[in-house]
């Protein structure tokens, strides 16, 4: 692959996609905290956002360390899909009308 294109894709991944992944996981981690740690919704949202920075950081590092750009984007796609699936699967449980059940 062209070096400039390779670098451009990695920079895009380390910035925009890293932030997007942080946003996805700030949603996806909420049900994990709710169900896995019996947190209340406010704590779950708080912790999810805090941990989403770690996701952003990890994606930024991975963007420049994975040898193949294809593998990088495939990994990110799978991770994002898992995050969105978790959010979609439990979104009804965490909807505002279920706050009392969640907490």
């Amino acid at each position: 692959m062209n070096i400039k294109l390779d670098l451009g894709l990695r920079i895009f991944s380390a910035t925009a996609i890293a932030y997007g992944m942080a946003v996805v996981f700030s949603f996806a981690l909420v049900p994990i905290f709710l169900l896995g740690f019996s947190s209340v919704i406010s704590d779950a949202v708080y912790f999810s956002i805090m941990l989403s920075y770690v996701v952003c950081f990890a994606v930024a590092i991975a963007s420049f360390s994975v040898t193949s750009v294809k593998r990088l984007y495939l990994s990110l796609f799978i991770a994002a899909s898992i995050g969105l699936t978790i959010h979609a699967a439990f979104v009804s449980l965490c909807s505002p009308s279920h706050f009392i059940i969640c907490s």
Partner: protein, 543 residues
């Protein structure tokens, strides 16, 4: 990309650091100065804060309440922010249904009451504190920029660990007199020392603005951040004023006895807030200073007018507490003078770490190419980094000069009793002048460095820095309310800033002297380095 993870990290360390170096340097330098923001404000307003007292007595509180009752008899809330040992002045405040107002006071030796001080307001050290996270671009995305810079710094720290993997060998190595080797060793040593500091500072910076940086899930689950915050933060419940009831006199000695019983001796009061001071159900909330807590929220006790304990504040949720602790670690309110000095040193080392990283890259480039853009970057680097130091000196010099002019125009007694309204235009102009001067000097330094040859620009900025910091120190030495008075009073906050000014003046004088006597060394910066064979492979390939 690079074949190994370590080489990728070295590449990332170089370019992530390079592109954000000047922004990070400005943030870290001003952030480091804001460890002493209260002390700097105290130093800059030295001529008005002449009656500092740290431990408020019952009599002090009574007198402050009397002043408030005269000034704002219809207020729904009064407040007293007590003077602290960092040079923070005593402030009184009140809130009515329509407005809020606060002002600085000093105890008048003649009348025994608290009188408003000269409202010659300077932003003082708070300017550095605000600048380091808004970049004076609060409404134009300044806080987002600093957030991005914090994440880049985290990446830089992480990749730096892989770049300089031989911690102990790097730590005990400082080679001279070759400039490049010296810079590399300095960079490595400071990098090793400041890893935990940089990590905590950058991660806590990101946590402080979670509602701005990643707001989407908050808005999905809650109406607003305020609603989320109301569920994790705690505060005293609202009280309703009792109609047709008159306040009973506050029993301050009883209240202080109650505080002693709860907190033991040796605590310091941060503030007192009184809800509905003219009603029978007036509530007195005493807040302890943050010196004993990692969190940015300290303990408080609510009492009624007789000094009896009212309901206590419920404990906050764990998630909020974690964020508060990171917030507290970032602001370091808990730091006593020695720890504060250590944190300040770590902040300065981080600033040097960032600046030296760019210098190393430039020096290595000079050995390989003679591109014109490299010369521009070299000149800009000198202008941005040392120009900022000069701007800091100019900012402090400006407020000192203006307050000296005002003091020359009237006696200090007149300054204490001057009505606020008559001085407001003056106060506004001082703030504007300070800001204009700060940014003007910084810009002028950058332009001077670009226009002049590299060694000339560097010499000029060093000389200007040495002169400016020397002028500050000398003015302080000769002033009536200067360092000599501070020595007599044992004013540690003031003396700390005087010492820092002296050290800064000495540092820049030495740097200028070395540049001035080392003409060949100065020219060396403008000529390419040749034949500089690597002696330690792992360090050479680091950048």
């Amino acid at each position: 990309m690079k074949p190994t993870f370590r080489k990728s990290m070295i590449w990332l360390h170089t370019y992530a650091g390079l592109f954000f170096a000047w922004l990070l340097f400005a943030i870290f330098l001003t952030g480091t100065l804001s460890y002493y923001n209260t002390e700097i404000s105290h130093w800059m307003r030295a001529q008005v804060n002449t009656n500092q007292h740290v431990e408020p007595s019952a009599n002090d509180i009574q007198r402050a309440l009397h002043t408030l009752s005269q000034r704002a008899p219809e207020a729904v809330q009064w407040g007293i922010d007590f003077a602290d040992d960092r040079g923070g002045p005593m402030r009184l405040r009140y809130r009515t249904e329509e407005e809020r107002h606060s002002w600085t006071v000093v105890a008048s030796p003649e009348t025994g009451t608290f009188v408003e001080t000269n409202p010659l307001e300077t932003r003082g050290g708070d300017f550095f504190r605000t600048f380091h996270y808004t970049l004076s671009l609060r409404d134009f995305g300044g806080r987002y920029l600093t957030g991005i810079a914090a994440m880049v710094m985290l990446i830089g720290v992480f990749s730096g660990i892989y770049t300089h993997r031989r911690f102990f060998q790097d730590f005990f190595t400082l080679r001279g007199p070759d400039k490049l080797k010296y810079l590399k060793d300095l960079h490595a040593v400071f990098g090793v020392v400041t890893i935990p500091f940089c990590f905590v500072i950058c991660f806590s910076a990101l946590l402080i603005y979670i509602s701005m940086y990643v707001p989407f899930s908050i808005h999905h689950y809650f109406d607003s951040y305020r609603q989320l915050d109301s569920q994790v933060s705690t505060r005293y419940s609202r009280i309703e004023p009792q109609d047709d009831s008159l306040a009973k006199p506050a029993n301050i000695p009883n209240m202080l006895a109650q505080l002693n019983a709860q907190w033991g001796s040796g605590y310091r009061l941060d503030s007192l807030s009184i809800d509905y001071p003219h009603r029978e159900n007036a509530r007195y909330i005493f807040t302890r200073d943050k010196g004993k807590y990692l969190s940015n929220k300290s303990e408080s006790i609510a009492l009624n007018h007789a000094g009896e304990r009212l309901e206590s504040m419920p404990k906050e949720r764990l998630a909020r507490n974690i964020r508060r602790i990171f917030y507290g670690l970032h602001e370091a309110h808990f730091a006593e003078p020695v720890l504060r000095a250590v944190l300040f040193s770590l902040g300065m080392m981080s600033s040097v770490l960032i600046a030296s990283g760019v210098s190393i890259w430039l020096n290595k480039r000079q050995g390989k190419t003679q591109a014109k853009k490299d010369k521009w970057i070299t000149k800009l680097h000198v202008g941005v980094t040392y120009g900022l130091c000069l701007a800091v000196a100019g900012y402090m010099l400006c407020s000192r000069f203006v307050s000296w002019q005002v003091a020359k125009g009237g006696s200090s007694a007149a300054m204490h009793t001057e009505p606020a309204a008559s001085m407001n235009t003056n106060a506004m102009s001082v703030m504007d002048i300070e800001l204009s001067l700060f940014f003007g000097i910084w810009l002028a330094s950058v332009i001077a460095c670009i226009v002049l040859a590299n060694h000339l620009g560097k010499r000029l900025v060093f000389l200007a820095c040495a002169l400016a910091f020397s002028a500050l120190f000398m003015q302080d030495l000769l002033a009536k309310h200067g360092v000599l008075l501070a020595l007599q009073r044992g004013d540690l906050a003031y003396l700390t800033i005087s010492l820092l000014l002296f050290l800064s003046a000495a540092y820049f004088a030495v740097r200028f002297y070395r540049l001035a006597i080392n003409k060949t060394g100065a020219q060396e910066n403008d000529t390419p380095r040749r034949g500089n064979k690597p002696q330690r492979k792992h360090v050479e390939e680091s950048h």
